[in-house]
């Protein structure tokens, strides 16, 4: 089985990168210490025990979850919108989440409040975008109307966010908002994971279940319907699932761009366009990519670099390469 071996190879690489990543950081961990911690679950060094279990491990799992969820949602959206230029925030989830987080920061809410506001903001923005597209009506190309509604709502929430930044205290609140918007995995702890992981699973399972029909959907509304695929329901399932996981990830990590756009391309290049294989491969590639990016973020210079900056710097040339390649060949 070609597809099974691809998944196994991805899992192997993910494990190796994870092992490497957990040793990286300000507090050095020798391979020997790591091995004894892994094999026994304990370490002679108490500091090491705390660092590995309370900081590095949650961050590692958080990075895999974030990269995986964003990449898989991106792949599903690209299939549904029949457009390889689409990213998971096309319907406004990021700008909604950014606005929610900024509002919570402005109100001096605790971390859990920021997460909740950002999650709610992301979901709200998408719901508004979908409602707007419904009111515009059925006489137009529904996919196009949906994308345009998403752009309108994104830009609206972007403006609201700018307003909050404008009135925010420039010494205290504004830097916090700015820093949040650049994205970071530094503050993920075990108790965050207990929230993220169930939502992630709840959102991923429906996406995987409809992955075959997603292929048919990418041929367009009329063809998909004549092949027996209920396009309206499919869109509901995909938008709901992708929004749920993306909003959830953004609420703990801040805004991390590019991953949901470029990783699906990379995955499609290796796994082919069949969503049955593309979705899980995108998830694993996303996880690997995010681990590597996070390693760079926390080890390149002595202070941590916000992760959204690195994904953009890596993403731009990557994407140019894919565009150049696609000019010769199809996606």
């Amino acid at each position: 089985m070609k597809s099974l071996s691809l998944i196994l190879i991805c899992l192997l690489i993910l494990s190796l990168v994870s092992l490497f990543s957990i040793g990286i950081g300000r507090y050095p961990v020798s391979p020997g210490d790591l091995f004894s911690w892994l094999s026994t679950g304990h370490s002679s060094d108490d500091n090491l025990q705390v660092i590995l279990f309370n900081i590095r491990l949650p961050r590692l799992i958080g990075a895999i979850a974030a990269g995986g969820a964003l990449a898989m949602s991106g792949a599903a959206y690209q299939g549904m919108f029949r457009n390889p230029m689409v990213s998971p925030d096309i319907l406004g989830v990021s700008s909604g989440a950014g606005f929610g987080a900024a509002l919570a920061i402005l109100l001096s809410l605790p971390v859990a409040g920021i997460q909740l506001f950002s999650f709610a903001g992301g979901i709200t923005a998408v719901l508004i975008a979908v409602s707007v597209s419904k009111t515009i009506g059925r006489s137009h190309d529904s996919v196009l109307v949906l994308v345009l509604s998403g752009i309108i709502i994104s830009s609206l929430f972007g403006a609201l966010l700018s307003m909050l930044k404008y009135i925010a205290d420039p010494d205290d609140k504004l830097p916090a908002i700015t820093y949040w918007l650049m994205g970071s995995l530094a503050n993920i702890r075990m108790n965050d994971l207990w929230v993220i992981l169930p939502v992630l699973i709840a959102g991923s399972i429906p996406l995987m279940l409809v992955s075959w029909r997603l292929n048919v959907l990418s041929f367009g509304e009329d063809e998909a319907r004549s092949l027996g695929v209920h396009t309206g329901w499919m869109r509901v399932i995909i938008i709901l699932s992708a929004t749920l996981v993306t909003a959830c990830i953004i609420s703990v990590s801040g805004i991390i761009g590019w991953v949901g756009l470029i990783v699906p391309h990379l995955a499609r290049f290796i796994a082919g366009p069949n969503h049955r294989l593309l979705l899980p491969t995108s998830f694993l590639f996303g996880g690997i990519f995010m681990l590597v990016v996070d390693d760079i973020a926390r080890s390149l210079v002595s202070v941590e670099i916000p992760i959204g900056i690195i994904t953009a710097i890596l993403g731009a040339p990557f994407f140019i390469y894919f565009l150049k390649r696609s000019a010769k060949k199809s996606w």
Partner: protein, 265 residues
């Protein structure tokens, strides 16, 4: 012998939001029969197809398959009865031809399932039937127009519907590919499917030699065999140009009519 079923339009007015494009349409297609639809641009062929496919609802009258109004069918049940071969196909992603044909099985699968061995065999048999097995592992997006048309026809057959609606299957094809596609469509009668096919070439209707429907001015103008229907007079009326219709030079068994537009010297 499989039971014949029919797709009927009964006194149907078709159009969009109160604007009637086609008035009082009565038409019947039996499984195992090929009906060619001819008519000038803008006469309402697309409206007719969209209505038969359930994308738009008839303004009045009904469309009935095997005695049941199509408005009562669930999407899934409908897709098991009627398959569609659209005029232009594009997918933004380079699916393998084998997979594209396999997409025809979707309607026979459970909501969350993917195709199994049996579905693959069915898809494979239609790749053989249309003689496109050699394309199976190529990307759909890299194929020529004629090859794509064959793949989409194979997909429609794989759907195992009772009726197939083809929207100008020979448009954008070179001469050789047009003939190849028409030959295959003619052979498809053996699959006991009913075929409704729009075409701009009266010759295609003569080649297929089955029923012809001529549309003009918002209604069905003529219905019958190609020989009886596609007369010089009718062609002049609907297309507004002079056309000679004559027999092919007799060279043995296969004799049919062909048409040639009249040209000034």
């Amino acid at each position: 012998m499989e039971r014949k079923i029919s797709l009927d339009l009964r006194r149907a007015d078709l159009g969009y939001e109160g604007r009637v494009v086609l008035h009082d349409i009565n038409l019947s297609i039996q499984s195992g029969e090929i009906v060619c639809l001819l008519g000038p641009n803008g006469v309402g062929k697309t409206t007719l197809f969209k209505t038969i496919l359930g994308f738009i609802k008839p303004i009045a009258g009904s469309i009935v398959i095997d005695g049941r109004n199509i408005a009562q069918f669930a999407l899934k049940d409908f897709a098991r009865l009627v398959a569609y071969v659209p005029q232009v196909h594009n997918s933004p992603f380079p699916y393998k031809v084998r997979d594209v044909v396999l997409f025809g099985r979707t309607v026979h699968l459970g909501l969350f399932a993917s195709p199994g061995q049996k579905d693959r065999e069915i898809a494979n048999s239609f790749l053989d039937l249309l003689e496109i097995q050699h394309l199976a592992d190529r990307s759909f997006t890299e194929l020529s127009g004629g090859e794509r048309q064959m793949v989409i026809i194979a997909r429609a057959l794989t759907q195992e519907a009772k009726f197939i609606i083809l929207d100008e299957p020979t448009s954008n094809l070179d001469y050789g590919n047009q003939v190849r596609v028409i030959r295959k469509i003619k052979e498809m009668r053996k699959q006991s499917v009913g075929i409704l096919m729009a075409t701009h070439s009266p010759d295609h209707a003569f080649m297929i030699g089955s029923k012809v429907v001529v549309m003009d001015n918002g209604s069905l103008y003529r219905y019958g065999t190609p020989e009886a229907t596609l007369t010089e007079e009718t062609l002049k009326k609907i297309y507004g140009v002079d056309v000679d219709v004559f027999d092919t030079p007799s060279n043995g068994t296969c004799r049919r009519k062909i048409c040639a537009p009249v040209m000034d010297l």
